[in-house]
């Protein structure tokens, strides 16, 4: 398999990480917490989508919308129950709360949905391009034949749609502008008449909607089980920090870098070391925190 094919896999992985990482990083920037339960929001969204598609006679896009609404509602309810009441306590108690909530949610989902992996029953069209010349460098092939499935296109298309919609939201709407203002300086935003609690709620909803979509995209591309969200949270976290925590545009860039690193390291590591490809993402995370903790978008996270 050529390098090009792995780049395509990387872009697909990067796309659904990006959709999730935007929500994660917005919550970080505005609520000022690392939400470790965020991976479970993906799982919740994916299962809401699966349930809708499985029980109601609706087309897939409707099920996706239901999943997004479900994710948004779940995120708001959980925030109101668990995070808003301790908003004043600072980042560490909030992080620890989200870790506890994540464990509880993950096992609740496992209890209700069982251990089996599920996936969307979709019809896949595969577009193959053959006859691409090989450009070999050592053992690696830089071009080579490749294929794209309709699922790949859906995932990448959704992600691009999200990026455009998000850009519109953040630059053209009052809510989006207020979000950016709060991300920069909450006190100043409040002085200027921004209803900070309402903006916080909207960020939670937005993050939940994005998580729901990302969960469905993961389910379409691969499958979901109770552990899906947890297995993605460190990648999402790595992408968000790599991009500069709190910066949505940085998170998009960070996600594609993580996606590419994951797929390329899977391809080029020896067989028995597949587990190491996930370690690569964490290694990037640690290296970024050490070398340039402010990330691509230059947000400071060091204190001394």
């Amino acid at each position: 398999m050529g390098l090009l094919q792995n780049v395509i896999f990387g872009l697909v992985t990067g796309s659904y990480i990006a959709v999730a990482a935007i929500g994660f990083t917005l919550v970080y920037g505005i609520v000022n917490m690392i939400n470790f339960a965020y991976g479970e929001y993906l799982t919740v969204g994916a299962f809401v989508g699966l349930l809708t598609a499985g029980t109601l006679p609706v087309p897939l896009p409707v099920a996706v919308l239901v999943a997004m609404v479900g994710g948004g509602v779940a995120s708001l309810v959980l925030a109101r129950l668990f995070f808003t009441p301790i908003n004043h306590t600072g980042p560490v108690p909030m992080l620890l709360t989200s870790i506890g909530l994540g464990i509880a949610l993950r096992n609740l989902i496992r209890l209700v949905a069982g251990r089996n992996a599920r996936y969307f029953d979709t019809e896949t069209a595969t577009f193959r391009l053959t006859g691409v010349p090989d450009v070999s460098v050592g053992p690696f092939d830089l071009l080579g034949d490749f294929f794209v499935t309709s699922e790949h296109l859906v995932v990448v298309g959704c992600a691009v749609g999200v990026f455009l919609a998000l850009h519109g939201l953040l630059t053209r709407t009052d809510v989006g502008i207020a979000m950016r203002a709060m991300g920069d300086d909450e006190d100043l935003a409040r002085v200027r008449g921004v209803d900070t609690q309402r903006i916080r709620d909207s960020v939670w909803v937005l993050a939940g909607v994005l998580a729901g979509l990302a969960g469905v995209l993961v389910a379409i591309q691969t499958n979901v089980s109770a552990g899906t969200g947890y297995s993605h949270i460190l990648q999402i976290l790595a992408a968000a920090i790599l991009g500069g925590a709190g910066s949505p545009y940085g998170a998009i860039a960070g996600s594609y870098i993580i996606g590419l690193v994951l797929s390329l390291s899977t391809a080029f590591l020896p067989g028995g070391m597949a587990e190491l490809s996930s370690a690569m993402a964490f290694l990037i995370l640690v290296v970024v925190l050490l070398v340039k903790p402010s990330g691509l978008a230059a947000r400071e996270v060091r204190e001394a």
Binding site: I86, L96, G100, A104, I241, A279, L289
Partner: protein, 349 residues
Amino acid sequence: MSVADRLPLGDAAGNGALLLGAVCVLLAAVFALTPLVVSLPGSLYVFFEVAILFAVYGVLVLGLDLQYGHTGLVNFGHVAFFAVGAYAVAMLSARDSFAGVSLGLPWPVALAGGVVVAALLGAAVGATSVRLRDDFLAVATLATAEIVHSLFVSFEGVFGGNVGIGSVPQPVSDLAGDADTAMLATLLLFGGVTLFTLAAVTRLTEAPYGRVLRAIRADELVTRSVGKSVLTYKMQSFVYGAALAGLAGGLFALYTGAVAPGYFTIQVTVTVWIGMLLGGAANHRGVLAGLAVIMGLRLLSRFALGVMPLSADAFASVRLVVVGLILVAVIRYRPAGLWGDAEELGVDT
């Protein structure tokens, strides 16, 4: 566990713990070295198993409490140092393990090696990460733990992959007459080690040194302004915690006789953290008591499993839901824990 649980919070210098620890170790020696044998009722086995694990985790939680409770370092990858200590001891001391490296050194050498390796990892992680802001330090340490875990799984030739490393010597079992006696001797010995650790960290934190650590936790800027090298103290505290975790890992390996990645999941970190927060960070006896409560819950759930109409699998999920919610509830309603000092920790109750 039985003795460390008695809470009344006097006796600051830890002499009581030292004395009690010595008694435990002596008793352990009596059972292990003499032909004396005991037989335990079968129904008590589960208590002994959990109690031995409690003693091991007790050393872990005391190290973590030094890092978080006293210095305010949010180390959410504590299991990494535990695992590295255990693997180092296993690889150094194992004889002809089925998989992975086994060097067959005497176990005391291996145990010392395990502590040193864990401390070195602590120094490496500390040197690079203690500067980070609290929540990012948590993320960096957590990621470190995940990397360590996947290294153990991936390099089969060195670490034995998912099988891990077996044939680790079990010195207490080898010395004692039979399995029951070995179990009792192990419990007494490990309990003694935990008590010694308790005495040591109490001495350390009662000394002016500990006051500097708590000052760093309370206000770093002020501490720096009175001329203390905050970074040096943070590093030392982090390395001490890591070394204690390495010791706990070594004890664990020498008790089970085998190590595998399955023993060293994030669940260990979570258990120790919840125990510490529940008991009250910065209070050594408090964190041990908190850990006892959480591990008591584990014991309780083993018995509850028998009477509940649930599969073992579903029951494990229920238990974890409860554990997660306990963590959430403690932070929200008793941020200083059951026996912690709210004013010292700077939290509202």
